[in-house]
């Protein structure tokens, strides 16, 4: 998939600002898979994910001028746009009404397993790494990263003191980080 010359992020940013097709091709070829992966993980619905991927590219296209490299990498900036947009959809009224009829079992923890057949590279890593976490960490990562809960919301929902949520969240992230290494 990586057929174009590898550009540095700085080069890519100035390319994107020119808004030509070459820039788009490079962006799409190198980043669409990662962005689509994040979206699918949150939404778990291919049709919705297709629409949303388009929306995410529009956002990136439109907001590239606002990107501030001092705050973080372009890559994580784009990942966050994808994740936040997906969570916005996840939390929209229409999506939630649709979800009501879906078996609860399928929606949260088993997101990954449902795509097993279509996508072999996807599941093993995350499932393994997240499943390796302690259950109290797992639910935090799931709620925070894939469901977009704030720590306050997690505290309310799980009825755990906010301080405990913060501590556990950081331990969970540190543990996850060591799994990825």
């Amino acid at each position: 998939m990586n057929t174009t010359i590898l550009h540095s992020e700085t080069e890519l940013i100035s390319m994107l600002k020119s808004k030509d097709e070459k820039a788009f091709n490079y962006l799409y070829d190198n980043y669409s898979g990662a962005l689509y992966g994040v979206i699918l993980k949150v939404l778990d619905k291919e049709e919705l994910a297709n629409d949303l991927l388009q929306e995410v590219f529009v956002k990136i296209w439109r907001s590239i001028e606002q990107y501030d490299s001092s705050k973080g990498r372009l890559y994580t900036w784009m990942l966050n746009i994808a994740r936040n947009s997906a969570i916005d959809v996840l939390r929209s009224k229409s999506f939630q009404q649709e979800q009501k009829t879906i078996d609860i079992e399928n929606s949260v923890y088993l997101n990954e397993s449902r795509r097993n057949t279509e996508n072999n590279t996807d599941t093993l890593g995350l499932k393994k790494s997240v499943m390796n976490l302690k259950p109290e960490f797992r639910i935090l990562i799931d709620l925070a990263y894939f469901q977009g809960f704030t720590q306050e919301e997690i505290s309310k929902t799980l009825q755990i003191p906010l301080g405990t949520v913060k501590t556990r969240m950081r331990n969970a992230i540190l543990e996850l980080k060591s799994v990825f290494k």
Binding site: G33, L40, V58, G72, R115, L126, Y145, Q159, N171, L176
Partner: protein
Amino acid sequence: MNIQEYISSGIAEAYAAGIATSEEVREMEQMMKLYPEVEAAVREAEEAMVKYARQHAVNPPPQLKQTIWQALVGETNIDEAQPTIKSTTHISIVPDVAARSPWMKYGLAASVALLIASAAGNVWMMNENNKVKSEVAAIAASQKVLLEEKNNALAAAEKANQEMQVLTLPKLVKINLAGVGSHADMAGMLYWDGATGDVYVDLNKMPEAPSGKQYQLWAIVDGKPVDAGMYDGNAQVAMHKMKTIPKAEMFAVTIENAGGSPSPTLDQMVVAGKTS
């Protein structure tokens, strides 16, 4: 603040993952400007995120690329209009957790709520189950205690009953054991069954025998002391069955070394009573 502690708290990872609170984000942006090592930690965490995202990349359907490019071209030409954006009301560039809070008003996604309810339910059930288990254990324990108490009470009643039976024996002889010499204030009772020779004493009103000593009962038979048994000092029992003495002129109690003596220490006689 200790920078190393700040870095190792996991804040850099939360920031890179976009799950830090808006307050933490602002703080982190300051810290990154001030401390190169904080910035380095964020870069490292970002690298992990990127690695993660690459590992879990999924190729979108092939036709999507062209569709998206068409949308972008339209976007560029029409400039500020948003013909292709279906449901976007705001653009999330930086993860802004606060902006998402109104969703709470609409409730959790039914699935999430149900899952959590079910998880919470499981926890609750588990807690309830444990509670019930410990309650059952507590009840079993108290039942055991109650059963023991009941058995003790039954045994005591049985004993009292036997004692009562003694008192109703037709040939029972009641003998007052009166204090002897300097022990005039002491007194006991002796019940002697004239039919069988069974002897019972009640010395519960007497002071406890000195440590290492025991009361010993003697029968005086034909002018000679005969050992009639040791008094065990159990105040729970009113009538202490002693040795069987078919014939005696007198009964006496002495203080002896624990375990008893073959013959009475006469100057230690405390109470005594004649049989007729």
